[in-house]
Protein backbone atom coordinates (compact mmCIF):
# COMPACT_ATOMS: atom_id res chain seq x y z
CA UNK A 1 0.00 0.00 0.00
CA UNK A 2 1.59 3.25 -1.14
CA UNK A 3 1.34 5.69 1.75
CA UNK A 4 2.62 8.82 0.09
CA UNK A 5 0.31 11.80 -0.07
CA UNK A 6 2.33 14.09 -2.28
CA UNK A 7 2.23 16.54 0.59
CA UNK A 8 5.68 16.68 2.17
CA UNK A 9 4.41 17.79 5.56
CA UNK A 10 1.75 15.09 5.67
CA UNK A 11 4.24 12.46 4.52
CA UNK A 12 6.49 13.42 7.40
CA UNK A 13 3.54 13.08 9.73
CA UNK A 14 2.75 9.64 8.38
CA UNK A 15 6.26 8.30 8.24
CA UNK A 16 8.62 10.44 10.22
CA UNK A 17 6.83 11.72 13.28
CA UNK A 18 8.90 9.70 15.70
CA UNK A 19 12.12 10.91 14.21
CA UNK A 20 11.01 14.52 14.22
CA UNK A 21 10.33 14.37 17.92
CA UNK A 22 13.14 12.12 19.00
CA UNK A 23 15.56 14.98 19.55
CA UNK A 24 12.99 17.07 21.36
CA UNK A 25 11.85 14.83 24.16
CA UNK A 26 14.17 13.54 26.84
CA UNK A 27 11.27 11.63 28.35
CA UNK A 28 11.96 7.90 28.61
CA UNK A 29 9.25 5.27 28.41
CA UNK A 30 9.22 4.72 32.17
CA UNK A 31 8.47 8.42 32.81
CA UNK A 32 5.92 8.32 30.02
CA UNK A 33 4.14 5.46 31.81
CA UNK A 34 4.01 7.46 35.06
CA UNK A 35 2.69 10.56 33.30
CA UNK A 36 0.25 8.56 31.17
CA UNK A 37 -1.24 6.75 34.16
CA UNK A 38 -1.67 10.05 36.05
CA UNK A 39 -3.40 11.72 33.10
CA UNK A 40 -5.56 8.61 32.62
CA UNK A 41 -6.68 9.02 36.25
CA UNK A 42 -7.82 12.57 35.51
CA UNK A 43 -9.69 11.49 32.38
CA UNK A 44 -11.51 8.70 34.20
CA UNK A 45 -12.31 10.87 37.23
CA UNK A 46 -13.74 13.68 35.13
CA UNK A 47 -15.73 11.55 32.69
CA UNK A 48 -17.83 9.36 34.95
CA UNK A 49 -15.45 6.47 35.49
CA UNK A 50 -15.00 3.48 33.22
CA UNK A 51 -18.14 1.93 31.74
CA UNK A 52 -18.02 -1.65 32.98
CA UNK A 53 -19.37 -3.83 30.19
CA UNK A 54 -17.01 -6.79 29.60
CA UNK A 55 -18.04 -7.63 26.02
CA UNK A 56 -17.76 -4.01 24.92
CA UNK A 57 -14.41 -3.59 26.73
CA UNK A 58 -13.00 -6.64 24.99
CA UNK A 59 -14.36 -5.55 21.62
CA UNK A 60 -12.94 -2.01 21.86
CA UNK A 61 -9.58 -3.48 22.92
CA UNK A 62 -9.58 -5.89 19.96
CA UNK A 63 -10.38 -3.15 17.42
CA UNK A 64 -7.89 -0.79 19.07
CA UNK A 65 -5.13 -3.37 19.20
CA UNK A 66 -5.68 -4.27 15.53
CA UNK A 67 -5.30 -0.60 14.58
CA UNK A 68 -2.32 -0.03 16.90
CA UNK A 69 -0.42 -2.91 15.30
CA UNK A 70 -0.18 -0.86 12.11
CA UNK A 71 0.85 2.49 13.62
CA UNK A 72 4.38 3.88 13.70
CA UNK A 73 4.81 2.89 17.32
CA UNK A 74 3.40 -0.63 17.62
CA UNK A 75 5.86 -1.94 20.20
CA UNK A 76 4.27 -0.38 23.29
CA UNK A 77 1.10 -1.77 24.88
CA UNK A 78 -2.12 0.14 24.15
CA UNK A 79 -5.07 0.05 26.57
CA UNK A 80 -8.65 0.95 25.65
CA UNK A 81 -11.68 1.76 27.77
CA UNK A 82 -15.17 3.24 27.39
CA UNK A 83 -15.95 6.18 29.69
CA UNK A 84 -19.33 6.28 31.40
CA UNK A 85 -20.25 9.69 30.02
CA UNK A 86 -22.99 10.89 27.66
CA UNK A 87 -20.72 13.54 26.18
CA UNK A 88 -19.39 12.82 22.70
CA UNK A 89 -15.63 12.63 22.98
CA UNK A 90 -12.45 10.58 22.92
CA UNK A 91 -9.07 11.01 24.60
CA UNK A 92 -5.57 9.62 24.66
CA UNK A 93 -2.96 9.80 27.40
CA UNK A 94 0.76 9.03 26.98
CA UNK A 95 1.97 5.41 27.14
CA UNK A 96 -1.04 4.14 25.22
CA UNK A 97 -4.14 4.91 27.33
CA UNK A 98 -7.07 5.49 24.94
CA UNK A 99 -10.64 6.39 25.90
CA UNK A 100 -13.90 6.77 24.03
CA UNK A 101 -17.08 7.99 25.76
CA UNK A 102 -20.30 6.03 25.85
CA UNK A 103 -21.91 9.05 24.13
CA UNK A 104 -19.57 8.74 21.16
CA UNK A 105 -20.05 4.97 20.97
CA UNK A 106 -23.79 5.68 20.65
CA UNK A 107 -23.14 7.88 17.61
CA UNK A 108 -20.88 5.34 15.91
CA UNK A 109 -22.66 2.96 13.55
CA UNK A 110 -20.06 0.38 12.59
CA UNK A 111 -16.63 -1.06 13.39
CA UNK A 112 -14.88 0.90 10.63
CA UNK A 113 -15.97 4.20 12.23
CA UNK A 114 -14.81 3.01 15.65
CA UNK A 115 -11.46 1.97 14.17
CA UNK A 116 -10.91 5.45 12.74
CA UNK A 117 -11.78 7.14 16.06
CA UNK A 118 -9.37 4.87 17.93
CA UNK A 119 -6.80 5.43 15.17
CA UNK A 120 -7.02 9.19 15.76
CA UNK A 121 -6.30 8.70 19.47
CA UNK A 122 -3.55 6.15 18.81
CA UNK A 123 -1.91 8.76 16.57
CA UNK A 124 -1.77 11.19 19.52
CA UNK A 125 0.18 8.52 21.42
CA UNK A 126 2.39 7.36 18.56
CA UNK A 127 3.32 10.94 17.63
CA UNK A 128 3.77 11.87 21.32
CA UNK A 129 1.53 14.93 21.05
CA UNK A 130 0.80 15.18 24.77
CA UNK A 131 4.43 14.67 25.73
CA UNK A 132 5.14 17.61 23.47
CA UNK A 133 2.64 19.67 25.48
CA UNK A 134 4.51 18.67 28.63
CA UNK A 135 7.79 19.62 27.02
CA UNK A 136 6.37 23.06 26.26
CA UNK A 137 4.86 23.52 29.71
CA UNK A 138 7.94 22.56 31.67
CA UNK A 139 8.81 26.21 32.30
CA UNK A 140 5.43 26.73 33.92
CA UNK A 141 6.20 23.81 36.19
CA UNK A 142 9.64 25.21 37.00
CA UNK A 143 11.54 22.34 35.41
CA UNK A 144 14.75 22.45 33.43
CA UNK A 145 15.33 20.30 30.34
CA UNK A 146 17.47 17.90 32.35
CA UNK A 147 15.04 17.90 35.27
CA UNK A 148 12.20 16.84 33.01
CA UNK A 149 13.68 13.37 32.76
CA UNK A 150 13.53 12.99 36.53
CA UNK A 151 10.18 14.73 37.07
CA UNK A 152 8.44 11.57 38.22
CA UNK A 153 10.82 11.42 41.18
CA UNK A 154 9.74 14.84 42.48
CA UNK A 155 6.05 14.86 43.55
CA UNK A 156 5.64 18.65 43.27
CA UNK A 157 7.16 18.87 39.80
CA UNK A 158 5.27 15.77 38.69
CA UNK A 159 1.94 17.21 39.88
CA UNK A 160 2.55 20.53 38.12
CA UNK A 161 3.42 18.79 34.85
CA UNK A 162 0.45 16.42 34.93
CA UNK A 163 -1.97 19.21 35.91
CA UNK A 164 -0.73 21.37 33.04
CA UNK A 165 -1.01 18.51 30.55
CA UNK A 166 -4.47 17.47 31.82
CA UNK A 167 -5.69 21.07 31.57
CA UNK A 168 -4.50 21.29 27.99
CA UNK A 169 -5.97 17.93 27.08
CA UNK A 170 -9.30 18.15 28.92
CA UNK A 171 -10.10 21.89 29.09
CA UNK A 172 -8.41 23.49 26.13
CA UNK A 173 -7.74 20.72 23.63
CA UNK A 174 -4.61 20.01 21.65
CA UNK A 175 -3.49 22.40 18.94
CA UNK A 176 -5.37 22.34 15.66
CA UNK A 177 -2.47 20.94 13.65
CA UNK A 178 -2.18 18.03 16.09
CA UNK A 179 -5.88 17.25 15.72
CA UNK A 180 -5.67 17.31 11.92
CA UNK A 181 -2.58 15.11 12.12
CA UNK A 182 -4.55 12.72 14.33
CA UNK A 183 -7.35 12.64 11.76
CA UNK A 184 -5.02 11.99 8.82
CA UNK A 185 -3.05 9.29 10.61
CA UNK A 186 -6.14 7.69 12.16
CA UNK A 187 -7.54 7.40 8.65
CA UNK A 188 -4.33 5.78 7.41
CA UNK A 189 -4.03 3.35 10.35
CA UNK A 190 -7.65 2.14 9.99
CA UNK A 191 -7.29 1.76 6.22
CA UNK A 192 -4.12 -0.29 6.71
CA UNK A 193 -6.11 -2.76 8.81
CA UNK A 194 -8.56 -3.08 5.95
CA UNK A 195 -11.55 -0.95 6.99
CA UNK A 196 -13.50 1.09 4.46
CA UNK A 197 -11.52 4.36 4.12
CA UNK A 198 -14.67 6.44 3.68
CA UNK A 199 -16.11 5.45 7.08
CA UNK A 200 -14.37 8.24 9.00
CA UNK A 201 -15.74 10.93 6.67
CA UNK A 202 -19.23 9.51 7.19
CA UNK A 203 -18.84 9.71 10.97
CA UNK A 204 -17.37 13.23 10.99
CA UNK A 205 -20.16 14.40 8.68
CA UNK A 206 -22.78 12.89 11.02
CA UNK A 207 -21.20 14.61 14.03
CA UNK A 208 -21.13 17.92 12.14
CA UNK A 209 -24.88 17.60 11.51
CA UNK A 210 -25.45 16.73 15.14
CA UNK A 211 -23.28 19.34 16.83
CA UNK A 212 -22.92 22.09 14.24
CA UNK A 213 -19.74 22.95 12.41
CA UNK A 214 -18.48 25.52 14.89
CA UNK A 215 -19.30 23.52 17.99
CA UNK A 216 -16.57 20.93 17.83
CA UNK A 217 -15.30 19.22 20.94
CA UNK A 218 -13.05 22.06 22.13
CA UNK A 219 -12.62 25.71 21.41
CA UNK A 220 -9.18 25.03 19.92
CA UNK A 221 -10.35 22.11 17.77
CA UNK A 222 -10.62 22.65 14.04
CA UNK A 223 -14.22 22.67 12.90
CA UNK A 224 -15.64 19.48 11.42
CA UNK A 225 -15.39 20.77 7.85
CA UNK A 226 -11.63 21.26 8.19
CA UNK A 227 -11.27 17.79 9.68
CA UNK A 228 -13.38 16.22 6.91
CA UNK A 229 -11.24 18.01 4.31
CA UNK A 230 -8.05 16.65 5.91
CA UNK A 231 -9.34 13.08 5.75
CA UNK A 232 -10.66 13.51 2.22
CA UNK A 233 -7.25 14.80 1.15
CA UNK A 234 -5.65 11.56 2.34
CA UNK A 235 -8.30 9.46 0.55
CA UNK A 236 -7.92 11.44 -2.66
CA UNK A 237 -4.12 11.31 -2.68
CA UNK A 238 -4.11 7.58 -2.02
CA UNK A 239 -6.77 6.97 -4.62
CA UNK A 240 -8.79 4.96 -2.10
CA UNK A 241 -12.33 3.92 -2.98
CA UNK A 242 -15.20 2.75 -0.76
CA UNK A 243 -14.81 -0.97 -0.05
CA UNK A 244 -17.91 -1.63 2.02
CA UNK A 245 -15.84 -3.24 4.81
CA UNK A 246 -17.76 -1.62 7.67
CA UNK A 247 -18.66 -4.60 9.90
CA UNK A 248 -21.85 -3.00 11.11
CA UNK A 249 -23.45 -6.24 12.38
CA UNK A 250 -20.48 -7.14 14.58
CA UNK A 251 -20.38 -3.63 16.04
CA UNK A 252 -24.14 -3.34 16.71
CA UNK A 253 -24.23 -6.81 18.29
CA UNK A 254 -21.56 -5.88 20.86
CA UNK A 255 -22.64 -2.31 21.47
CA UNK A 256 -26.12 -3.48 22.45
CA UNK A 257 -27.94 -0.97 24.61
CA UNK A 258 -24.92 1.11 25.50
Amino acid sequence: MQISTGNERLDKMIHGGGTLLSGLLPIGYEEEQSIGAAIALQVIARYGGVYDQPDLTRYVNLVGRAVALTCDRPDIPYHFAVLNSDSINAFAAPAGYVFVTRGLVKQIRNEAELAAVLGHEIAHVSQKHILEVIQRSKRLAGVSEAGLAYAHQNPDVFKNLVDAAAKKLLDEGLDQDKELEGDSLGEVFAARVGYDPTAYVTLLTRLRSLKGDDKAFFKTHPNFSARINAVQQVIQTQGWKPTGVLLEDRFVRVRGKT
Binding site: P26, Q33, L69, P155
Partner: protein
Protein backbone atom coordinates in the same frame (compact mmCIF):
# COMPACT_ATOMS: atom_id res chain seq x y z
CA UNK B 1 41.94 -3.07 -36.44
CA UNK B 2 41.81 -6.77 -35.72
CA UNK B 3 43.38 -6.13 -32.34
CA UNK B 4 40.72 -3.53 -31.60
CA UNK B 5 37.96 -6.05 -32.39
CA UNK B 6 39.45 -8.58 -30.02
CA UNK B 7 39.34 -5.97 -27.24
CA UNK B 8 35.94 -4.63 -28.18
CA UNK B 9 34.04 -7.86 -27.48
CA UNK B 10 35.08 -8.28 -23.82
CA UNK B 11 34.73 -4.54 -23.25
CA UNK B 12 31.23 -4.48 -24.67
CA UNK B 13 30.35 -7.59 -22.66
CA UNK B 14 31.61 -5.86 -19.51
CA UNK B 15 29.68 -2.70 -20.40
CA UNK B 16 26.40 -4.58 -20.95
CA UNK B 17 26.92 -6.67 -17.81
CA UNK B 18 27.48 -3.48 -15.79
CA UNK B 19 24.41 -1.83 -17.29
CA UNK B 20 22.34 -4.94 -16.54
CA UNK B 21 23.51 -5.00 -12.93
CA UNK B 22 23.03 -1.26 -12.47
CA UNK B 23 19.56 -1.38 -14.01
CA UNK B 24 18.68 -4.35 -11.85
CA UNK B 25 19.75 -2.48 -8.73
CA UNK B 26 17.90 0.65 -9.80
CA UNK B 27 14.70 -1.28 -10.39
CA UNK B 28 14.77 -3.14 -7.08
CA UNK B 29 11.87 -1.82 -5.03
CA UNK B 30 12.22 -1.98 -1.28
CA UNK B 31 9.31 -1.84 1.14
CA UNK B 32 9.28 -2.14 4.93
CA UNK B 33 7.06 -4.12 7.27
CA UNK B 34 4.53 -1.69 8.79
CA UNK B 35 2.86 -3.95 11.30
CA UNK B 36 3.90 -5.53 14.55
CA UNK B 37 2.58 -8.84 13.26
CA UNK B 38 3.17 -9.76 9.62
CA UNK B 39 3.47 -13.13 7.97
CA UNK B 40 5.40 -14.15 4.88
CA UNK B 41 3.27 -16.76 3.12
CA UNK B 42 3.98 -19.32 0.42
CA UNK B 43 1.18 -17.94 -1.75
CA UNK B 44 -0.98 -14.86 -2.16
CA UNK B 45 -3.88 -15.83 0.09
CA UNK B 46 -4.27 -16.03 3.85
CA UNK B 47 -4.84 -19.77 3.45
CA UNK B 48 -1.30 -20.36 2.21
CA UNK B 49 1.29 -21.64 4.69
CA UNK B 50 3.46 -19.24 6.70
CA UNK B 51 7.07 -19.15 5.49
CA UNK B 52 8.30 -16.72 8.17
CA UNK B 53 7.13 -14.21 10.77
CA UNK B 54 8.40 -10.76 9.80
CA UNK B 55 9.57 -8.01 12.13
CA UNK B 56 8.29 -4.43 12.27
CA UNK B 57 10.51 -2.24 10.07
CA UNK B 58 12.14 -5.22 8.28
CA UNK B 59 13.15 -4.37 4.67
CA UNK B 60 11.78 -6.50 1.85
CA UNK B 61 12.71 -6.54 -1.82
CA UNK B 62 9.63 -6.58 -4.05
CA UNK B 63 9.81 -9.27 -6.73
CA UNK B 64 6.31 -8.93 -8.14
CA UNK B 65 2.85 -7.57 -7.31
CA UNK B 66 -0.58 -9.06 -7.71
CA UNK B 67 -3.70 -7.24 -6.49
CA UNK B 68 -3.27 -6.64 -2.74
CA UNK B 69 -0.25 -8.92 -2.37
CA UNK B 70 3.48 -8.46 -2.90
CA UNK B 71 5.96 -11.23 -3.67
CA UNK B 72 9.05 -10.34 -1.68
CA UNK B 73 12.44 -11.55 -0.56
CA UNK B 74 13.86 -10.87 2.90
CA UNK B 75 17.47 -9.91 3.63
CA UNK B 76 17.97 -13.50 4.81
CA UNK B 77 16.87 -14.79 1.42
CA UNK B 78 13.40 -16.07 2.34
CA UNK B 79 10.89 -15.62 -0.48
CA UNK B 80 7.13 -15.45 -0.22
CA UNK B 81 4.05 -13.23 -0.30
CA UNK B 82 2.92 -10.50 2.09
CA UNK B 83 -0.35 -8.56 2.21
CA UNK B 84 0.51 -5.10 0.81
CA UNK B 85 -1.42 -3.32 3.58
CA UNK B 86 1.25 -4.48 6.02
CA UNK B 87 4.04 -2.69 4.16
CA UNK B 88 5.13 0.89 3.58
CA UNK B 89 7.61 2.40 1.08
CA UNK B 90 9.32 4.40 3.84
CA UNK B 91 11.06 2.94 6.88
CA UNK B 92 8.81 3.43 9.93
CA UNK B 93 10.42 5.67 12.49
CA UNK B 94 8.56 4.78 15.66
CA UNK B 95 10.46 1.73 16.85
CA UNK B 96 13.84 3.43 16.60
CA UNK B 97 12.51 6.37 18.56
CA UNK B 98 11.34 4.12 21.37
CA UNK B 99 14.60 2.23 21.34
CA UNK B 100 16.34 5.56 22.01
CA UNK B 101 13.88 6.40 24.78
CA UNK B 102 14.45 3.02 26.41
CA UNK B 103 18.22 3.41 26.04
CA UNK B 104 18.04 6.80 27.71
CA UNK B 105 16.00 5.37 30.55
CA UNK B 106 18.24 2.38 31.08
CA UNK B 107 21.14 4.81 31.45
CA UNK B 108 19.24 6.85 34.03
CA UNK B 109 18.06 3.73 35.82
CA UNK B 110 21.63 2.58 36.25
CA UNK B 111 22.53 6.03 37.44
CA UNK B 112 19.69 6.02 39.98
CA UNK B 113 20.39 2.48 41.09
CA UNK B 114 16.86 1.43 40.20
CA UNK B 115 16.89 -2.02 38.67
CA UNK B 116 13.15 -2.55 38.38
CA UNK B 117 12.19 -4.03 35.03
CA UNK B 118 9.68 -1.80 33.32
CA UNK B 119 9.26 -3.08 29.81
CA UNK B 120 5.60 -4.06 30.21
CA UNK B 121 2.46 -2.16 31.15
CA UNK B 122 2.08 -1.66 34.86
CA UNK B 123 -0.74 0.79 35.67
CA UNK B 124 -0.13 3.03 38.63
CA UNK B 125 3.41 3.34 39.97
CA UNK B 126 4.65 5.32 42.95
CA UNK B 127 4.59 8.68 41.14
CA UNK B 128 1.08 8.29 39.73
CA UNK B 129 -0.23 6.70 42.96
CA UNK B 130 1.13 9.65 44.97
CA UNK B 131 -0.45 12.00 42.45
CA UNK B 132 -3.81 10.23 42.83
CA UNK B 133 -3.70 10.71 46.60
CA UNK B 134 -2.68 14.37 46.36
CA UNK B 135 -5.50 15.33 44.00
CA UNK B 136 -8.11 13.08 45.62
CA UNK B 137 -8.75 10.48 42.91
CA UNK B 138 -11.04 7.77 44.27
CA UNK B 139 -9.90 4.17 44.79
CA UNK B 140 -12.49 3.10 42.19
CA UNK B 141 -10.83 5.22 39.51
CA UNK B 142 -7.33 4.11 40.55
CA UNK B 143 -8.43 0.50 40.21
CA UNK B 144 -9.83 1.31 36.77
CA UNK B 145 -6.40 2.45 35.52
CA UNK B 146 -4.78 -0.68 36.95
CA UNK B 147 -7.40 -2.86 35.25
CA UNK B 148 -6.84 -1.07 31.92
CA UNK B 149 -3.10 -1.65 32.08
CA UNK B 150 -3.53 -5.27 33.13
CA UNK B 151 -6.03 -6.09 30.38
CA UNK B 152 -4.43 -8.66 28.14
CA UNK B 153 -5.18 -9.50 24.53
CA UNK B 154 -2.62 -11.53 22.62
CA UNK B 155 -1.48 -10.88 19.06
CA UNK B 156 -2.99 -14.25 18.20
CA UNK B 157 -6.40 -13.13 19.49
CA UNK B 158 -6.15 -9.99 17.35
CA UNK B 159 -5.26 -12.15 14.35
CA UNK B 160 -8.33 -14.31 14.96
CA UNK B 161 -10.45 -11.16 15.27
CA UNK B 162 -9.16 -9.90 11.89
CA UNK B 163 -9.84 -13.30 10.38
CA UNK B 164 -13.42 -13.50 11.64
CA UNK B 165 -14.06 -9.99 10.28
CA UNK B 166 -12.51 -10.73 6.89
CA UNK B 167 -10.10 -7.82 7.34
CA UNK B 168 -6.80 -7.15 5.55
CA UNK B 169 -5.21 -10.31 4.25
CA UNK B 170 -8.31 -12.23 5.33
CA UNK B 171 -10.56 -10.20 3.00
CA UNK B 172 -13.01 -12.40 1.16
Amino acid sequence: MKRHSRLAIPLLTLLFASLYLLTGVALAEIVFVQSKTAKLRSGKTSLDSVVADLKFGEPLEVLSKERSWLEVQTARGAKGWIFAGKTTPTKPAGSEDDALAKLGKSFRRTEAGDVTASAGARGLDKASEDYAKRVGITQRDRDAVDRMAAYRITDQEVEEFLKSGGLGEYAK
